[in-house]
């Protein structure tokens, strides 16, 4: 079965005075309709840059984009700007992290939502406005016929994010990219928005890419997970599989450095030492090796000299990892799991 969205060997390079910044360097993933892909990584790992490339938001003068982005069989990197413009907002839509800066403060919320509909549909303003009210109602804004004439500043943070979702979904796009959709929100509002996204996804049967640094959000939302580090995928597979049997030390680091709301209060936080690398001058070999505490287990300094390929992991074909370690499952079970979740071992 061919995928709805298929990204192959995507590269986004920014030439600068100091050299080429390889923000995304050879990224491949697939997404089916009705499924959710979670992209996880720290700032600067290339997750937002990659999704902007799918929307064609990079300027040709400042970014070099190569590879293939096949949406429903059409390569988005080969079509003209005009054609991209026709698809953007209709077939692919995006929800941004900060709804206050993503909305125009001088225009009424309703007009901004209606505009997204007017651009892609040959209808009157009246019809578009009606449709905007419908969408506001659908995303759970109370009294949508009145709030449609409010300005963004009159909405609370959660309502603004709902309005952004209404705007994104008004043309019923097949692909929705949500870039840190809940990072700026409180946990209670975050839960509301995540529920809403899941409901709407079922209703519209869209493919959703959710970009986040919060593994908790991914765990609740995603079917597949892609972990990025320094512009490359380091682990990719089914969500449950990755969270229960991670095979890459960076993913271990992410899991062990976040405290838990349940479980043992005395469990240690094990930070990942060091800082994320500069993409201008990335480390040789595996980009994670300067921060990796397991590199001694690989013979011959391989981590420093050779970039590992993204290959099937120990557990099977669909779980891909980029690491030289020969027995990651054993190390995880023996060294990592007892540290981060001793109670899980007892349950087994």
């Amino acid at each position: 079965m061919s995928s709805f969205l298929s990204v192959r060997d995507l590269k986004v390079h920014f030439p600068t005075v100091d050299g080429i910044v390889k923000a995304t360097d050879g990224l491949s993933f697939e997404l089916q309709k009705g499924k959710t892909l979670g992209i996880v990584g720290e700032s600067g790992s290339g997750k937002s840059v990659s999704s902007s490339a799918i929307l064609g938001l990079h300027r040709k003068s400042s970014a070099m984009v190569s590879g293939e982005i096949l949406l429903d069989g059409v390569d988005l990197l080969k079509i003209s700007d005009e054609e991209m413009r026709r698809r953007r907002g209709k077939e692919v839509a995006m929800i941004f992290q900060d709804p206050l800066s993503a909305m125009h403060p001088y225009y009424r919320v309703g007009n901004q939502i209606a505009e997204a509909y007017l651009v892609h549909n040959d209808v009157s303003k009246k019809v578009a406005r009606k449709r905007a009210i419908e969408m506001l109602d659908r995303v759970g804004i109370p009294q949508p016929d009145r709030r449609v004439d409010d300005y963004p500043h009159q909405f609370s943070g959660g309502m603004r994010q709902r309005a952004m979702i209404a705007m994104g979904l008004i043309n019923n796009p097949g692909l929705l990219i949500a870039d840190e959709p809940t990072t700026a929100l409180d946990v209670t509002v975050q839960a509301q928005i995540l529920d809403l996204l899941q409901d709407l996804q079922k209703e519209f049967d869209s493919g959703v890419i959710i970009i986040t640094h919060d593994l908790g959000v991914v765990a609740e939302m995603a079917d597949d997970v892609l972990v990025m580090y320094a512009g490359r995928a380091v682990e990719y597979g089914k969500c449950k599989e990755i969270l229960t049997h991670p095979e890459m030390p960076y993913t271990w680091g992410l899991l062990s450095s976040v405290p838990d709301v349940r479980g043992d209060t005395s469990a240690k936080l094990i930070p990942i030492p060091g800082n994320p690398p500069s993409l201008l001058n990335p480390p040789s070999g595996c980009a994670f090796h300067p921060r990796c505490t397991h590199k001694d287990k690989v013979p011959g300094d391989l981590c420093r000299t050779e970039l590992p390929e993204l290959v099937p992991g120990v557990s099977g074909g669909e779980h891909l990892k980029r690491c030289h370690l020969a027995n990651p499952d054993e190390i995880y079970a023996k060294e990592i799991l007892p540290e981060i979740a001793p109670e899980l071992i007892e349950e087994k």
Binding site: A23, S43, Q192, K240, P271, G274, P276, S278
Partner: protein, 412 residues
């Protein structure tokens, strides 16, 4: 959009590991019955709202903090959690006396500092310091790191100028930065390193109380753990009391043995962390906890049912009558609109402000508070019942409390 780190990579490898590293990352044990270094009672902060126009009259008040009481033990930590706009940051700013409170008292080492003058505040600033949320805006971009960290020493005339530099280098080393970098500027450091600079600045005067307002929320996950571990290590080393303000419930749980949950300017529940996270009694705390996505839970047992809180936090200018949470609460009855629930001690170290307190799914059918408040079950004044004197808004915990099962006072 993501940006590549602005720091130059050459010095990143040179950063030494924190001086004291891995041996013990756990938080100190529950600080029971220790002396309080800071005691806040009935603290209020109302910000006036002015009308527009030529004559700017005050037309209302934002009740940002409305009568909260808590204690901070020597060398211990208290966590303040809540949604944005609940008044937790305002509380932090009141404790550091960046604001002058509208009412109430802040007792620091036996002295009420709520209304002292700006002049007599200066020595106080040495004792109570603050770490800010955003490491990008809280450091002056035109001052070198040495000048930033050394400024408190110069302002308070603690050390002669010549000795400031060695002290600054010592502090840089304590927070895990390279001491040779004192003449660099903030933009040359990454987010986590800048937060370390902010921490070094707060430590310069060896304060007894540190108010940490969202100290890690602006940092990447992998860096958050580094900074939290550093703060815990410093707390042990220098015996600093932390008022730890954050919206991330997991971080607060990890850092603080005792936690207060705030909603619309009030503390709705305060307890030691085991009680608060495993047996919360306030419906708001329960909703808040159920909203936190849980990696490990989802990884093994699938997705949990969340308690849905409808709508948004009401405006603090015109908060709901009675219980402020009632507009979003599934338990709300008549009494909740009429009478404000007192912050009632229901366990050894557990207070809750609710008419129907109970564990999730086990809330009582009838309010427990009428007898204490002198009202009937619907909240209307009841001539027959006299309000009990047992409720007070004292900070800290007493040895007697209201036993929920027996509906009477109990002793430890």
């Amino acid at each position: 959009m993501d940006q590549t780190p602005t720091t130059d990579p050459s010095h990143e490898d040179a950063v030494p590991a924190p001086a004291v590293a891995t041996d013990e990352h756990r938080a100190p044990v529950t600080t029971e019955n220790t002396e309080a270094v800071l005691s806040v009672e009935n603290l209020k902060m109302y910000f006036p709202v002015k009308s527009s126009g030529l004559i700017r009259r005050t037309i209302g008040h934002v009740q940002a903090v409305d009568g909260i009481s808590f204690q901070l033990p020597v060398g211990g930590s208290l966590g303040l959690v809540g949604e944005s706009g609940c008044g937790k940051s305002t509380t932090g700013r009141l404790v550091t006396r960046l604001y002058e409170p509208t009412g109430g008292s802040i007792n620091f080492e036996g002295r009420d500092i709520a209304n002292v003058s700006a002049r007599s505040l200066k020595p106080l600033r040495r004792e109570i310091q603050m770490i800010f949320q955003d490491p990008y805006t809280s450091l002056n971009p035109r001052h070198s790191v040495g000048a930033i960290i050394g400024a408190p020493l110069a302002i308070h005339k603690i050390l002669p100028k010549k000795q400031i530099l060695p002290k600054v280098q010592e502090l840089l080393e304590i927070v895990g930065l390279n001491p040779e970098h004192y003449n660099r500027y903030p933009h040359e450091f990454s987010g986590g390193q800048r937060q370390r600079i902010g921490i070094a600045r707060a430590l310069t005067l060896q304060p007894k109380v540190l108010v940490a307002d969202e100290p890690v929320s602006a940092l990447d996950v992998s860096i958050q753990a580094q900074v939290i571990n550093l703060l815990q290590q410093l707390q042990r080393e220098f015996n600093i009391a932390f008022l730890f303000i954050a919206h991330d419930l997991a971080v607060v749980r990890h850092f603080c043995p005792e936690i207060a949950v705030m909603y619309l300017g009030k503390i709705v529940e305060i307890a030691d962390r085991e009680t608060l996270y495993s047996r919360p009694h306030h419906p708001y705390t329960q909703a808040l906890l159920s909203a936190v996505p849980d990696v490990k839970q989802a990884a093994i047992g699938g997705r949990r049912e969340r308690i849905r809180l409808e709508g948004d936090v009401p405006s603090p200018i015109n908060p709901p009558s009675g219980c402020r949470f009632r507009t979003r609460c599934s338990l709300a009855q008549e009494i909740c609109a009429r009478a404000e629930p007192p912050l009632l001690q229901i366990g050894k170290r557990h207070k809750v402000a609710c008419h129907f307190p109970g564990e999730l799914g086990h809330h009582p059918e009838k309010p427990i508070t009428p007898r204490l408040l002198g009202v009937d079950d619907t909240g209307a004044p009841d001539a027959g019942a006299a309000p009990a004197a047992e409720i007070s808004n004292e900070p800290g915990f007493s040895d007697t409390w209201f036993d929920l099962e027996r509906r009477s006072m109990a002793k430890a």
